[in-house]
Structures are given as structure tokens and as C-alpha cells.
């Protein structure tokens, strides 16, 4: 990689070579603003959070003690944290498969014909660019137990009318549904890119092999060819949904009874509500390790994709 900048250059005069050697000074000058901002905003805070996690520091306190792994031990008996982990996992396992499955179905449908492609793509993508907090309040109205249109429709067909965001049985499902709504468009666009990359000849070839129906062509060609895109979309959706915060903070504040408490909200609450910075930092590390784990899987998979290609 180091040779790229020099290769293919027809200019080999000594003057230029001198200029190349003089690169170091100017290179550091050009990277200096970014390096300073990186140190101040990313690297030092990252190291600080690592250190904080092993202290009992509380915001506003005069000092702190190093308490080793005590914060992590506390997590094991912390019922809010347990609920938080459980709900975050349920949320991810709800949002990821549904938003991926629906996105794939819609992408195949869009790709199957010429009419309305740009229109539908734009409609499904709309939630990605919409202010989450504002749209969450719109969902709050839609899901309102007594005046919401969803329950009004359910009443019309004589079905039960759950308190979608207010009952601990339904709240994660409701938030999960909003999460699916938010993520489908993003995944859809990734799938559309994957679908356009499939060579047309494969479909023609599958017809010769006797795949007549759309469904058998899907299983024979589309599904295996989408493999790499699929793995990628799974990880992206997981890392996006593990960071759920806005909808929870707007709609339920983790309630009722911790039934919708999620990881980022616990970090926020412990840190900026109870000011237990040490404990909050420890939970942050748990969050970071999970995200890094997902990223590790992703890089592994991308490596594999390169080998296949």
C-alpha cells in the first residue's frame, strides 16, 4: 500500500524525489487537526471510560477508589441491568429477523417489475430520514389504547385492544414493531443493491434447469447469490438495533416496571440521572464488548466474502 502513491508516475526528477522525502513534515501538518480532535474526542475518552469502569466514581464526588471488578459483580445482582440486557436481546431478536425478512420480500417484489420502483423505494426509505422522536410520538398516537386508530380498527373487527405501550406484555413488541418500521427501508436498499448484482443469465439458466415459478427461481438463484449481502445486513441490523434509545426514551422511559429498559438507556440513567459514573462506565464496557463482538463477526464474514469472490 505504501507504494501506491509513487507507482505509475512519469515524473522521476530529483526535485520531485526531494519533495517526496519532504512529505513527512507536511503530512503531519495536514493530519494534525484530525489527530488532536481524535485524541481529545475519541482516544482519551475511550481510555477514561476504561479506567472509570474500575472505580466507584460518582459525578460531583471529591475522589474515587479503585474497586477492581466490583461494578461488574454488582451487575450480576442488579435487576434493572438484567431486565435491560434481556429486553435489548429480545428487541434485537424481534427487529432483526422481521426487518430483514420484510425488506427482502419487498426488495424482490420491487425488483420483479418495472412499475413504481423509485416510488416504492422512496416510500420505504422515508422512515430512515425522519426524526425518530417525532415519528415515535406519531406512533404513540396510533397505538394509544383508547383514542388510537390501531385499537379503533381492532374494535371494529371485535378483537382485543391491548395497551400497546403501557402493558409490560406488549411494550417490547410495540417498540420492536416501530424498530422494524424504522429499519426496513435501510435493509431494503442494501438488498436492492445485492439483487441488481445478480447476473441475469443465472435466471435464464435456472429456467433451462426447469425452474418455472418465481418461487423456485428465488430458492435456486436469488437466495444463494444474496448470501454475502444477507450476512452483512444481519450484522448491520443487529448493531443498529442494539443501539435503540430514542423510541424508548420518548415513549416509555423504560417502563412499565423496567419492561422496556434497554442497554443505552440504562447507561444514560445510571450516568446522568443517578450520577453513578463508575457503574455506568462498566455497563458501557459491556455494551462496547457486544458491539465489538458483532463487528468481529462482520470482518470475518467480509474476509470470507472476498475469498468467495
Amino acid at each position: 500500500m505504501a507504494d501506491v502513491a509513487l507507482s505509475g508516475s512519469p515524473f522521476n526528477e530529483p526535485r520531485l524525489a526531494r519533495r517526496m522525502r519532504g512529505d513527512a513534515g507536511i503530512a503531519w501538518l495536514l493530519t494534525l487537526p484530525a489527530i488532536l480532535a481524535y485524541l481529545a474526542m475519541i482516544l482519551l475518552p475511550l481510555l477514561a471510560v476504561l479506567a472509570l469502569a474500575f472505580t466507584d466514581y460518582e459525578f460531583g464526588a471529591r475522589g474515587f477508589r479503585w474497586i477492581g471488578l466490583a461494578n461488574f459483580a454488582d451487575m450480576l445482582s442488579d435487576r434493572t441491568f438484567a431486565a435491560s440486557i434481556r429486553n435489548t436481546v429480545i428487541y434485537c431478536l424481534f427487529v432483526a429477523p422481521l426487518s430483514i425478512g420484510i425488506a427482502l420480500a419487498l426488495a424482490v417484489l420491487i425488483e420483479a417489475g418495472a412499475r413504481g420502483r423509485a416510488f416504492y423505494r422512496a416510500v420505504f426509505f422515508l422512515p430512515v430520514v425522519s426524526l425518530t422522536v417525532a415519528m415515535a410520538t406519531a406512533w404513540q398516537y396510533l397505538l394509544h389504547p383508547s383514542i388510537g386508530p390501531v385499537n379503533a380498527m381492532l374494535r371494529m373487527v371485535g378483537a382485543g385492544t391491548p395497551n400497546w405501550l403501557g402493558s409490560s406484555d406488549w411494550v417490547i413488541v410495540s417498540l420492536g414493531f416501530i424498530g422494524v418500521w424504522e429499519n426496513v427501508g435501510f435493509n431494503l436498499v442494501l438488498f436492492l443493491a445485492g439483487l441488481t448484482a445478480i447476473p441475469r443469465e443465472l435466471y435464464a439458466a435456472s429456467e433451462i434447469d426447469g425452474a418455472r415459478s418465481g418461487l423456485s427461481k428465488f430458492w435456486l438463484v436469488t437466495w444463494p447469490m444474496l448470501g454475502p449481502t444477507m450476512l452483512f445486513v444481519i450484522i448491520i441490523t443487529m448493531t443498529r438495533s442494539i443501539r435503540v434509545f430514542d423510541t424508548v426514551q420518548t415513549l416509555t422511559q423504560g417502563g412499565p416496571n423496567n419492561a422496556s429498559e434497554v442497554l443505552l438507556r440504562t447507561i444514560y440513567q445510571e450516568g446522568f440521572h443517578y450520577f453513578r459514573f463508575g457503574y455506568s462506565a462498566a455497563i458501557t464496557l459491556v455494551f462496547l464488548v457486544i458491539v465489538l463482538g458483532l463487528m468481529l463477526i462482520q470482518t470475518r464474514l467480509i474476509d470470507r466474502r472476498v475469498h468467495y469472490g
Binding site: 481529545a40 420483479a112 443505552l264
Partner: protein, 277 residues
């Protein structure tokens, strides 16, 4: 792809339209409720058109109770402030990483890759402490500064600059240009497509962000749009869904309109760069 006769295309269009209707439901109801008077909202009828229009009432209440334009302007200042510094810092660094040979380049790039793995929420606690120490809570600086170094922008621009032919840069050197003016006069004009894509990604991310503003801002006059909606709902509007939907619509509209005008660029920008999330 063959254009089928409309009649055989109908099942496909029907399915897509049904899904589209579900996706659009919150937008449709948001618009409808924002012009309904309160008593009609509470009747829970499924009619979208109000019997008595309350457009002026609802939007008037929003404008009267909260400084919504201030929130929107705050959102713009924060988003474009962040974007300005991100690009200002990223382009020279990315140029150096892509086109200059210097000892330590691999190390710097390694740190860029490390930064890509760290979600910004991870560093919130120490950043809050630092900003508190400096007495900068409740300021635009607190909202902007933590995001000024986008490793993602550096990474993206670096990939992009590597495709710029070396001959172009060497020709500029022979003409006697210094590296700084090469960045400004050769690289920046070539960076426009990558910068547009990144700009869309960055603005969408920060316009929608709630986590960080919630941490560093307590004063109402510095609220971002997302915080404004939260405050309006919890304190002033309560169950007044008409006014609440009006406020929600006003803060959602700017980005949605921009998206409708430049759909392709938005979709490209967010999915190309959105891999960072």
C-alpha cells in the same frame, strides 16, 4: 427486465401498496391529526378529514408555546457546525493518508480503523466530565465539539482520494504548488461527490440524535428539534395530540422534503456511508 402488461402486474403492485400504506400510516395520521380539533381526536373515529378544521389552532398553539423555529435553527447550526469541522479536519488528513509517504502513516490509519469500531455513546461519560470541567455545558460547543473528528469521513475520503491519479498531483507539484494549495485547489474540487454523500449521512445522523443533546443541554433555548418535541410533549401539550402532531410535523418536514427532492443522493449517501450506522 420486461415490462409486463398492467393486469398481470397488479398483484405485485397491490402487495407493495399495502406495505407502503403501513409504512406511511404514521405520516398520514400525523398530518390528519395536526388539523383536527381536540374533541374530534378524542372521538377516536377513523376519519382522516376533520369535520371542523383546527389547523390554525394547533399550529398556532405550537408557535405560541415553544420557540420551534429556534429549535430548528439550533438543529441547523449544530448539524452544519459538525459537518464543517468534520470536513475541515478529514480532507487534509485523508489526503495525507492517501497520497503522501510518511513514517507513521500505517499507525495513523490503524487508529482510524480503531475509531470506526467505537460507537459514540461509549465515550459520553468522560466527554461530559471534560465539558463540565471547561464550563461548556449548555452551549453549541458542547453539542458540536465531540463530533468534529469523524474517523468515518477520514476513511471515506481516503478511499476516494486514492483513486485520484498521481499524475494530476505531480503535475500540480511541477507547477510549483505547495501541498496545502494542492489540497485546496486540486483535492477539494475532486472531493465533492464523496463530500455530498458524507454530508447527507452526517446531517441525517445528527439531526435525529437525541442521546447526546439530552446529556449536555438543559436550557430550553439550546434545544435541538428532537429535544424540543420531548419537552413540548412532557410539559406543555400532555395529551393534546393535535398540537403535538403539528410540532412533530414541523420538525420532521425539513429533512423529509430535502429527501424527496434528492432521493437518489440521499439513498446513496446513507447506504454507502450508513455502514457505520
Amino acid at each position: 427486465m420486461q415490462t409486463r402488461p398492467l393486469i398481470s402486474d397488479l398483484p405485485r403492485l397491490a402487495l407493495l401498496s399495502l406495505a407502503a400504506l403501513v409504512v406511511l400510516a404514521p405520516y398520514i395520521w400525523m398530518v390528519a391529526v395536526s388539523v383536527k380539533p381536540q374533541d374530534e381526536v378524542f372521538k377516536a373515529s377513523l376519519s382522516l378529514i376533520p369535520q371542523k378544521w383546527a389547523l390554525i389552532e394547533n399550529y398556532g398553539k405550537v408557535l405560541k408555546t415553544i420557540p420551534i423555529w429556534t429549535y430548528i435553527v439550533n438543529g441547523l447550526i449544530v448539524c452544519f457546525g459538525i459537518l464543517f469541522f468534520q470536513i475541515l479536519f478529514a480532507i487534509p488528513a485523508a489526503y495525507a493518508l492517501a497520497k503522501l509517504n510518511f513514517r507513521g502513516r500505517e499507525l495513523v490509519f490503524g487508529f482510524v480503523m480503531l475509531g470506526l469500531l467505537i460507537p459514540y455513546q461509549t465515550t459520553a461519560l468522560p466527554l461530559y466530565l471534560g465539558i463540565h470541567q471547561l464550563g461548556l455545558l449548555n452551549s453549541y460547543t458542547a453539542l458540536i465539539a465531540p463530533f468534529t473528528c469523524s474517523v468515518f469521513a477520514i476513511f471515506l475520503f481516503r478511499q476516494f482520494f486514492r483513486a485520484i491519479p498521481d499524475d494530476l498531483i505531480n503535475a500540480a507539484r511541477i507547477d510549483g504548488m505547495g501541498e496545502l494549495s494542492i489540497v485546496w485547489r486540486v483535492i477539494v474540487p475532486n472531493a465533492v461527490p464523496a463530500a455530498t454523500a458524507f454530508a447527507i449521512f452526517s446531517v441525517v445522523a445528527h439531526w435525529n440524535d437525541l442521546f447526546w443533546p439530552l446529556i449536555v443541554i438543559q436550557k430550553g433555548n439550546l434545544y435541538t428539534p428532537a429535544m424540543g418535541i420531548l419537552a413540548f410533549r412532557s410539559v406543555e401539550a400532555g395529551e393534546d395530540y393535535g398540537a403535538l402532531m403539528a410540532a412533530a410535523l414541523l420538525v420532521t418536514a425539513p429533512l423529509v422534503l430535502a429527501f424527496l427532492f434528492a432521493q437518489r443522493r440521499f439513498i446513496e449517501g446513507i447506504t454507502m456511508t450508513g455502514l457505520k450506522g
